[in-house]
């Protein structure tokens, strides 16, 4: 069994740099360092995400075993945010499952970078939502669940299951893809809560153009990280060249404010 070592700071966890995560504080003898080296490398415990999200999450990826909540806070865009969050891990071979998202647009998922051959949909879990999500947490790396109203005990059980099985549970509320499911955000027990507070559709004019990209403003509330709140905006899908789309007309939709609805 591995001996618990102080967790290295995120700056030391550079994936791709050999030994980047094995750096130890000076003063530990080499022989001892080799004996107490953790068996599970920290980078194995992270599912990669797109660079913008890394800043938002405060880690370089989705930490295995964590529970995230993605909620709509007066604006559209939760579905895109979740898909963009999965994209990097999925394209590197992680299995993703989406439960209860009956109307998910798979073409859009592919366009946002999700590998469709690694995506599995359970559109109608019905009354067995908890059992299904628990079973999927056993085998998938990421499970996106459009949550119906669940008892606190069930919510806790699912979070614990995710932690135990080293997979990531993403609870999605306020997505239009979840038909007829009246969900309420999970108030407690989530490690990171991503709230979509505003958004703008670019590229569409008065009778001309087309929807080119969707800017979403996301506020992350992180449990046990500093600063507790972090804001970021994304263009989804990212316009070519990473610049905001140069469009003459930008349809300003919802103001960046919580509780617009």
């Amino acid at each position: 069994m591995a001996v618990a070592l102080p967790r290295p700071a995120p700056s030391e966890l550079v994936p791709g740099v050999p030994g980047g995560d094995r750096r130890l504080r000076p003063g530990v003898p080499r022989v001892l360092a080799q004996r107490v080296r953790p068996l599970v490398l920290a980078r194995d415990e992270l599912l990669p995400v797109a660079p913008g999200f890394a800043e938002l999450l405060g880690t370089l990826g989705l930490r295995r075993g964590s529970t995230l909540a993605v909620v709509a806070d007066g604006a559209r865009g939760t579905t895109s945010v979740v898909l963009a969050l999965l994209a990097e891990a999925s394209s590197l071979g992680a299995w993703c499952a989406a439960v209860g998202l009956e109307d998910l647009g798979s073409v859009a998922a592919g366009e946002l970078g999700v590998a469709l051959d690694r995506l599995v949909l359970v559109p109608r879990p019905g009354k067995r939502f908890t059992t299904v999500v628990a079973a999927l947490l056993d085998g998938c790396d990421v499970v996106v669940a459009a949550a119906p109203e669940l008892a606190p005990a069930d919510r806790r059980r699912l979070s614990v299951r995710a932690r135990e099985r080293r997979s990531v549970l993403v609870v999605l509320t306020g997505s239009q893809a979840a038909a007829a499911v009246v969900g309420r955000p999970w108030p407690d027990g989530v490690d990171i809560r991503l709230a979509v507070t505003g958004g703008v559709f670019a590229g569409l004019g008065a009778g001309s153009g087309r929807v080119c990209s969707h800017r979403v403003d996301v506020v992350a509330t992180r449990h046990g990280a500093y600063p507790r709140e972090q804001r970021a905006s994304f263009w989804l899908p990212p316009p070519p060249g990473n610049a905001p789309p140069a469009s003459s007309v930008v349809a300003k939709a919802a103001v960046t404010s919580a509780g617009a609805r």
């Binding site: 604006a75 559209r76 865009g77 579905t79 895109s80 898909l83 071979g93 299995w95 109307d103 998910l104 647009g105 798979s106 073409v107 859009a108 592919g110 366009e111 946002l112 469709l116 051959d117 995506l119 599995v120 949909l121 359970v122 559109p123 109608r124 879990p125 019905g126 067995r128 059992t131 299904v132 079973a135 999927l136 056993d138 085998g139 998938c140 790396d141 997505s175 239009q176 893809a177 038909a179 958004g199 559709f201 569409l204 004019g205 008065a206 009778g207 001309s208 153009g209 087309r210 929807v211 080119c212 969707h214 989804l236 899908p237 007309v249 349809a251 300003k252 939709a253 919802a254 617009a260």
Partner: protein, 537 residues
Amino acid sequence: MRVTRPERTLVLWCPDWPVSAAGHRPEEAVAVVANNRVVAASAAARRSGVHPFQRRRQAESCHPGLAVLSRDPGAEVRAFEPVVVALERFGALVAVRRPGWAALATRGPARYFGGEESFAADVAEAVAALGERLGLAGAPQSGTDRLPFVGDWWRLGIADGPFAATMAARRGCIVPRGASRVFLAPFAIGCIGNAELADLLRRLGITTLGGFAELDEVDVCTRFGTEGVRLHRLARGLDGRSLDVRPRRRDLAIETLLEPPADDVGTTAFIARNLAEKLCGRLASEGLACCSLDIKVETSTGDRLGRRWAHDGAWTPALVAERLRWQLEAWLVGSGRTEGGEGLRAPAGIARLRLVPDDVVADTGRQLELWGRRCTDDERAARAFARVQGLLGPEAVVRPLLVGGRGPAERVRCVPFGDPYPVRFDDAAPPWPGQLPRPNPTVVPKEPYPAEVLDGDGHKIGVDGRGAPSGVPATVAVGRRPPSPVVAWAGPWPVDEQWWDTAAHRRRARFQVVTADGDAYLLAVNRGRWIVEGSYD
């Protein structure tokens, strides 16, 4: 096509097996009929003009007093079994293509029995003795006596490959190695086994196999394709097909009766474990692996339930037991399920349990990747999905597959997990003119719901035959929600699909709309009816 040297093959052919199988001797006038046509006739009947494909009435008029039997394929197979068993005494690999035709690779056995001549003589003796025992042999006839390998109900032949050997069996002779082409040359082209090609060749002036064999292989390939080349090789005596070995007689299914019927999860789990070990042991002892497993259950009330479980061919007792337990649990506990209704009714227990391995293949072992990691991940995921399929049914867990189409809904097909998932679907490649450009809506309702689009004066907006809208959209009401002002829009993008098919013809004009609420929709209008095809969420 894989080109291999044809294998020396012995073929035992029973010309009128349906007649022999019905227990009639060749000298009795008998015809076997299916769908009102003669499929086989005894030698006596054939002498008076009865022949296959003849109508029943004509056959009866050819030979007054003809006994007409209807065909029984099951009985033919059963009756052929002793013949196959007799052949199996001479060599292990007996291939049966249909009742009345069996082949045996002769290389090993011929050496053991001291040459092909004496081997064939031994087989002939055994078959003749069997015929006498079963009462199939008739009175010896003049003419056939002189041939050593021809009985009154069977014929033997040895040649290179099954095709040439079948022809050799017609003559009852042994064709030396390499002489098959010369031997086959005089046979009529109709023997080739493809009526369409034979007919065409006859009209081209080629009437014998020899004539066909003289054609250049490249020309044959150009004109007749792969199937033509295969038949051309047959005609040249190069039958490279290996014998398809006779299916195993041993039944791999496992069954158990539960007395009293089991109705709780604990008992079934115990039974599941035992059965799983038995099944895996049986498969392993045969050196086999199965790719899917049918679980069949009979309840105490007489209901029958079944479900098929797929796996990549490495069932271990633990895996089988796990799935069995899940499935039984789902049936026992899931009786309260509303959808589908395939649960057990409350008081029923499981009375009989049957495991049938299917898609049985030789167990070649399994190769993990170098680090083993990815493969085990896939396996773990597949198990989780299989478990959910056990709970909700196989159709409930799907993988999206991109196919061709223009709208976002048409471009996705859902494939149940476990079904073959093509890496890339050719239809999805361009061109699809009029396809919705990126990005597609992230929400695509399964059932498009209605919308109402009004212009500034409150009139409904339509699109005329030339694709021009009747006004500028001012408000959009989606579903039952109140109307919301439009801040940006684009369209119409008319699509006229499958106009050649009246039933599938679909004509619509698409719009993109952003409302003041911050919602973006993909709308479509057809004959004044607006629907929401997708929304950007």
